[in-house]
């Protein structure tokens, strides 16, 4: 089942939430809608589910225009962020709700509910009312309800938002397999970039009433469309430094603490323009003083995360830089040190607009394709 949105606009009174949003999701694909709260992710999901109607634009499911099609006729499974369980029904009846609508026999219903409940490890609480369930169990019940009728389209609205960290971690591991087994087209809303990276075949980043970038997790991480997206993706956050590229000794360079950092030749058109240089923590490494292009820094603090160690360092002008290295590898813990930049992974943004400057060769290649 494919989902296609064409030029969707939606406003509540004078408050525009979505403006000219177009999107298409392929059969079996998991698309993550990622963005800060208020970006319109939930509204977009509800438009697809049919509980609200767009002001303009079209929604197609499997090529069929959904205008005027009631939510119950769209064959969609949806899990809500606030669970939205039916408080007067037990977990079994909650999960069975999509099956009763399809007039399944009692035996089939019982089998299906128990199967999906076992899958989500809630088969022991099927006869509890929602208020007797823990948050994690509620979340799983809501998920089970969305899955029970095996819908070919699944809309998951930040289902892990209201559960504790441990369960969120477990579910982040389990969900991809679960979604794969369902073989459904999934739209998954989240505000957690790790969840987005772990679950999405593609990620659509939403902000300012629309989709700002859409691409694979790697695309978004390595080539963010603008500084906002660069900041939202990645922990520790990307280091963003104001620079003005110039040409020195025939190379395009940016100056950090008077040290010339070589940039790709593709950034030549940006020479003399106000830019922002984005450096991922893993694009930086500690080096010895005599390495060419080594930038002198002062080590401020070091934070060991599980798999990596993150160092906060200050340049001579007091600009903060985050450097990460695999845990267990040696590195300076205080005092003066030197870092080097991996030129290929440095990202350049236009300072005025915040947009990423695409390296010239990529643009040319696109034109060739066209």
């Amino acid at each position: 089942m494919t989902i296609t949105l064409k030029n969707i606009r939606k406003a509540f009174k004078t408050n525009t939430v979505l403006e000219d949003v177009s999107l298409s999701v392929a059969t079996g694909e998991t698309l993550v809608l990622f963005g800060p709260s208020g970006a319109g992710k939930t509204v977009l999901l509800r438009l697809i589910a049919g509980v609200i109607e767009p002001d303009a634009g079209e929604i197609h499911v499997n090529g069929q225009n959904m205008a005027g099609v009631e939510p119950e006729d769209r064959g969609i499974g949806m899990a809500f962020q606030n669970f939205a369980l039916f408080p007067h029904m037990d977990a079994f009846a909650n999960i069975a709700a999509p099956l009763t609508a399809r007039h399944q026999s009692k035996a089939v219903m019982k089998d299906t509910v128990e199967k999906v409940a076992r899958l989500l490890k809630i088969d022991h609480v099927l006869h509890h009312k929602p208020k007797e369930l823990s948050n994690g169990q509620k979340q799983r019940t809501a998920l089970a309800r969305a899955l029970s009728a095996a819908p070919s389209i699944l809309l998951l609205d930040d289902p892990l938002r209201n559960v504790d960290a441990k369960l969120r971690f477990e579910m982040r591991l389990e969900l991809p397999r679960l979604l794969k087994d369902q073989n459904a087209t999934v739209i998954y809303v989240t505000q957690d970039y790790k969840e987005a990276m772990a679950l999405g075949h593609r990620i659509a980043v939403m902000n300012d009433h629309g989709i700002q970038q859409i691409g694979t997790p790697q695309d978004i991480y390595l080539s963010p469309a603008n500084t906002d997206i660069a900041r939202l993706f990645g922990d520790p956050v990307i280091t963003l430094l104001d620079v003005v590229p110039e040409r020195r000794a025939g190379q395009v360079v940016a100056l950090i603490s008077d040290t010339a950092i070589p940039l790709l030749e593709d950034y030549a058109p940006q020479i003399g323009q106000a830019c922002i240089l984005g450096l991922r923590p893993e694009a930086l490494r500690f080096v010895s003083e005599d390495t060419p292009g080594a930038i002198p820094v002062e080590v401020e603090a070091e934070t060991p995360l599980n798999e990596k160690t993150v160092t906060l360092a200050l340049t001579l002008r007091g600009r903060e830089i985050m450097v990460s290295r695999p845990a267990g590898t040696p590195g300076p813990t205080s005092g003066r040190a030197h870092i080097a930049v991996d030129a290929a992974s440095a990202i350049l943004f236009d300072r005025a607009s915040g947009r990423r400057i695409a390296p010239v060769h990529k643009i040319i290649r696109k034109e060739e394709v066209a």
């Binding site: 769209r74 809500f80 939205a84 408080p87 007067h88 709700a97 999509p98 009728a149």
Partner: protein, 285 residues
């Protein structure tokens, strides 16, 4: 849990007793009166010591009122039946009309919905007599005067706004997502209304029904003007106890006891819903 000293508990007990006495005294006195004859009721000074008699109740139930001037026929049991029928039917119709309307006002924001809802509420502000005078003329021309149908219709002025506003608050308290979830699961609008909205607003609907039943039961002027003897509820029927040979206090008291008994029992049974319903529904609505 803080501990209370015995003195404090004692004082609190006394205070509660005083409050109970203050509020319960009229009811207790009326119950006592209902077992006395007019003579013992009217003696000075009054006393709680008397030979109890059931003659007031037998007079009411048999419909024969013995006075010094002779035997009067009264139809108290008929009045009681009228009250029961009018109130129940009014509340039933009020619920059938009011609950879906309350849902519409709570969920579907259509043009003028607030104005219509407020207009319906404003029926409660109007002095009933103001409405009654023109209504009497219309009812006589339409043939609705002195019919159960006409009375039940007019009773909607009392019952409908109350049900509408209490139940509306309850529907608004149900998160819309719960209903959306049921729709998306594949159920149509009506079954969502029946299986989700109605059960979740149940306590509010019960409270509204109960309260409007009491209001309808206690109504006096509508029935006084629009109904003649055979359709009168107890509130109006009680006037029959004012006879040529004086007021029959004993029978009045027995009549009161019989007429408050159903609402009293109903309120006792459902007071939990009543308090919940009013504090939740009406305040938030």
């Amino acid at each position: 849990m803080e501990t209370t000293s015995p003195v404090e508990r004692l004082l609190r007990g006394i205070a509660i007793t005083l409050v109970c006495l203050f509020f319960m005294f009229p009811i207790v006195w009326i119950v006592l009166m209902s077992f006395q004859t007019n003579e013992t009721i009217l003696r000075v000074p009054p006393s709680v010591i008397f030979a109890p008699t059931l003659e007031n109740y037998t007079a009411l139930i048999t419909g024969k009122l013995e006075t010094q001037a002779g035997t009067l026929d009264i139809d108290f049991m008929g009045n009681l039946w009228n009250s029961l029928f009018l109130s129940t039917a009014s509340v039933a119709i009020g619920l059938i009309l009011g609950v879906p309307a309350a849902y519409a006002f709570a969920r579907l924001k259509f043009r003028g919905s607030e104005d219509i809802a407020f207009t319906l509420l404003s029926f409660r502000f109007a002095p009933p007599l103001l409405v009654l005078l023109p209504l009497t003329i219309y009812f006589q021309q339409l043939g609705l005067a002195n019919t159960y149908g006409g009375l039940i219709w007019v009773y909607q002025l009392i019952v409908l706004p109350l049900i509408l506003w209490i139940v509306r608050g309850y529907f608004e308290d149900i998160p819309a997502d719960i209903e959306y979830a049921y729709r998306i699961a594949g159920h149509d609008f009506w079954s969502t209304f029946r299986r989700i909205a109605l059960p979740l607003a149940g306590p509010g609907i019960a409270a509204a029904g109960l309260l409007s039943f009491i209001f309808a039961w206690n109504n006096f002027v509508f029935a006084l003007v629009l109904a003649s003897a055979d359709k009168q509820p107890v509130t109006v029927g009680a006037l029959a106890f004012v006879t040529a040979s004086g007021i029959q206090y004993g029978q009045v008291a027995a009549g009161i006891v019989l007429s408050i008994a159903p609402t009293f029992a109903l309120a006792l049974y459902a007071q939990r819903y009543l308090v919940e319903g009013l504090s939740l529904g009406a305040v938030k609505g």
